[in-house]
């Protein structure tokens, strides 16, 4: 049994569990949207004194911060107890494409070229991590949600704004993948 769950989980099991998480949150009177936490953290850190956008009762969002803590814990558990140590099973085509960008085939879950501590401490490596995070944080709040809020919750409710946001996610993702990434890496 343990060996079975230590293998990567197939797409439909993972997708069904994500839908299950969304429905559980609705049942508990909340909704599934992770990037709200970023705004909550800005507010909890005192951002509301300077900007009206962060002036709200952030304690009402504590449940979501607890969810965030759980997500960290889940990552820890997955690595410590549920991993068989195999690298990510991506397609040969992707491995070949990434090789041309100087990214080696997976040896774990993430490429060392971008996420090793050594890379983080280099100027270019740090700049890539910082810029990526900055755009995710800025863009998710500008668009009013991220993958969970728009692509999962919003599309499940057949909301047109969420569809537009997801089209934007892909426009930006394709631009980065095909045009900018070859220049950056």
């Amino acid at each position: 049994m343990l060996e079975f769950i230590q293998q990567p989980w197939t797409w439909w099991v993972s997708g069904a569990l994500i839908a299950g998480i969304m429905f559980s949150l609705l049942f508990f009177g909340q909704s599934f949207g992770f990037s709200s936490n970023l705004r909550t953290i800005c507010s909890a850190a005192g951002g509301g004194k300077l900007l009206k956008f962060f002036d709200f009762n952030w304690r009402s969002q504590l449940w979501n911060l607890v969810f965030l803590v759980g997500a960290i814990l889940g990552g820890f558990i997955a690595h410590q107890f549920l991993s068989n140590g195999q690298p990510v099973q991506i397609s040969e085509n992707t491995i070949n494409d990434l090789a041309q960008l100087g990214i080696g085939a997976p040896t774990s879950a993430q490429p060392d070229e971008l996420f090793s501590l050594e890379s983080m401490l280099s100027l270019k490596g740090f700049a890539i991590l910082a810029l990526g995070g900055l755009m995710v944080g800025f863009g998710s709040r500008y668009a009013g949600g991220c993958t969970s809020g728009h692509a999962i919750s919003g599309l499940s409710d057949l909301q047109v704004p969420s569809l537009i946001a997801v089209i934007g996610f892909f426009a930006g993702g394709l631009l980065m993948t095909y045009v900018l990434l070859p220049l950056i890496l």
């Binding site: 989980w9 997500a71 889940g74 690595h79 879950a109 991590l129 995710v136 998710s140 980065m176």
Partner: protein, 137 residues
């Protein structure tokens, strides 16, 4: 104690993100290169089951655990904010290989460099709050 259920749900979320490999930069690249069905399968399954469930909740006017109706609020009508904001998000998603949830899952998994990504995501959110009134919405 009232928060324990959210801790458990968050933990399940983190485990699913890691075990489905959706938290991996490699998988996000594979998705944006349309070279595997995996990520589309995950998101597609979640959305199809989600849409069926949401329709049933509305049809049968289901209530939450405290007996309140489960409401869905239509998002504000606009094109610009979703398209521009979404595009900026997508640029960051493909570069860092992580949206906000998977960022913290990576930190728990042991990829401490994701702390930098997450801190800058907070800064990015703050920056949006700082200049939002000057942006088209």
């Amino acid at each position: 104690m009232k928060f324990i259920k959210f801790l458990i749900l968050g933990t399940v979320f983190g485990i699913v993100m890691a075990k489905s490999e959706a938290f991996s930069w490699f998988r996000i690249q594979e998705m944006f290169r349309f070279q595997a069905f995996h990520m589309y399968g995950i998101i597609g399954t979640a959305v199809i089951l989600g849409a069926i469930g949401v329709a049933l909740i509305k049809k049968f006017k289901l209530r939450d655990i405290s007996g309140n109706p489960i409401n869905f609020y239509p998002k504000e009508k606009s094109i610009m904010r979703y398209l521009i904001g979404g595009t900026i998000f997508g640029l960051g998603w493909a570069l860092s290989g992580a949206c906000p949830g998977p960022m913290v899952v990576n930190i728990g998994y042991g990829y401490l460099s994701m702390i930098v990504v997450f801190l800058f995501a907070i800064i990015g959110t703050y920056l949006y709050g700082f200049i939002k009134d000057k942006l088209p919405h």
